[in-house]
Symmetry: C2
Subunit: 210 residues, 2 copies
C-alpha cells in the first residue's frame, strides 16, 4: 500500500477478525520497528510484550474501559511497558552497553555518562514518567504506520485499567508498568466503524504559516 | 527504501546539507502524514508550522540547547504546536465539525459530545498538557518513519527553549505553544554522527515474554 492509501485505509479497529492471525514474520517485522524507534539519547525507556495467548487476550478485554473487545479479538497484542523506576541502574546499563558497542575511550565514555546522568537527573520525579510515555508514543506512531503500510490493522489503546493490565501480565514483578496497548490483526467485516468517515482538520487549517 | 533499511539508515541528524532542499511535493506528503495521524478520539490537539525562511531557521538555532545547528541547516523545520488551552471552544469545534461531516442525527451527536466532554474533563489541568504531548509524539513517530522511507533525513528535537521558540515563531499570539521541533532535509557529508553505531537492546532483551 502506498503512503496516502495507508493513511486513509487505517482506522482504530473496534473488532478484529478472530479467524485471521498474523504470521511470525509479520510480528517480527513490527517488533523490529518498535525496537529500532528513536528515543531521547537512545535510552529506550520501555520494553515490548507480545501476547497471543487467547486466555490472556480475553483477560485484557476486562481491563479495557467500555467493554471493548479489541485485545480479545486481535491476533496479537503489543503492550508497551515502561520501567517503574528510571533510576541509575537503568540508565547506567545503557551507558555501559553503548560505550562498549561504540568502543568509546574512557574520556568519551565519561562525557557520555555525564550527559545521560544530567539529562535524567534534570527531570523531576513527576516529569520522568511523562518523558517515558512520550518516547512510547513516538515508537507507537512508527508501529501504526508500519502496520498500515503492510495492510495490518491496529488499535492504539490508552483507555484501560493499568493496574489490572499489570496484574494480568505480571508486569510489576518484572519492574514494569503498562503504558499503551496495541492490538494487531485484521479488521472484522462486522466492525461497522470501518465505514465511519475519518474527520481531520483541512490542510489549510491544520498547517499554520509562521 | 524498504522498512528494515529505513530503520537502520535513519539517525538523529546533527548537521544538514544546506545546499539540498526538499521539494514542495515532499513537504506536502510529510505534512499529510502528520495531519492524518491518529489522535485520541480524533481530537487533533496540535497544529503544524512549517518554516523554510532562512532567517527564522537560523533564529531557531539560538533556541536550541548546546548550540545545535539542525534548524538553521535544515531544508524545512516542522514545528508541532499545541493549543495553550484545550478548553470547551477547542473541543466543541471538533464535535461540531465531526457531527456535520458524519451527518450525525441529534441523538448521536449528543452522545458524541458527552463522550468528548467527559473525556476532556476527566483529565486534570496537569494531565491535559501531557495528554496533548503524547498525541504529538505519536504523530511525530509517523512523520519520522515516513521521512526515512522516502530517504529524507530528520532530527526530532525536544531539548530547546520553548519560550524562546514561541517568541520567534509568534506562537502565543495564535494561542499555541511549541512542543517538538523536527528539522528535515538531507544529512551533511560533514555530519560525523552518521557513522556512530546505532545502539539498541537486542531483540531477546527488548521483547519480553509474558
Amino acid at each position: 500500500m502506498n503512503l496516502r492509501e495507508a493513511l486513509h485505509w487505517r482506522y482504530a479497529v473496534k473488532l478484529f477478525d478472530r479467524t485471521r492471525t498474523l504470521s511470525t514474520e509479520q510480528i517480527e517485522e513490527l517488533a523490529e520497528v518498535v525496537r529500532m524507534a528513536p528515543t531521547s539519547l537512545g535510552l529506550q525507556p520501555f520494553r515490548l510484550l507480545i501476547v497471543d495467548d487467547p486466555a490472556v487476550k480475553a483477560q485484557l478485554d476486562t481491563a479495557c474501559h467500555r467493554q471493548q473487545k479489541q485485545p480479545g479479538s486481535a491476533s496479537h497484542v503489543f503492550i508497551f511497558a515502561a520501567p517503574t523506576a528510571v533510576d541509575e541502574p537503568f540508565w547506567r546499563e545503557y551507558v555501559d552497553r553503548a560505550a562498549r558497542e561504540r568502543h568509546l575511550p574512557p574520556e568519551k565514555r565519561g562525557e557520555f555518562e555525564t550527559r545521560v546522568r544530567n539529562y535524567i537527573t534534570s527531570k523531576s520525579e513527576a516529569e520522568l514518567p511523562h518523558w517515558v510515555e512520550k518516547q512510547v508514543y513516538l515508537a507507537a506512531g512508527q508501529l501504526l504506520l508500519a502496520a498500515a503500510l503492510a495492510g495490518i490493522d491496529a488499535c492504539p489503546m490508552e483507555g484501560f485499567d493499568r493496574n489490572e493490565a499489570d496484574r494480568i501480565l505480571g508486569l510489576r514483578q518484572m519492574g514494569l508498568r503498562s503504558v499503551l496497548l496495541c492490538p494487531l490483526g485484521h479488521r472484522s467485516p462486522m466492525d461497522t466503524f470501518a465505514a465511519v468517515k475519518k474527520v481531520r482538520l483541512p490542510r489549510d487549517r491544520f498547517v499554520i504559516a509562521p
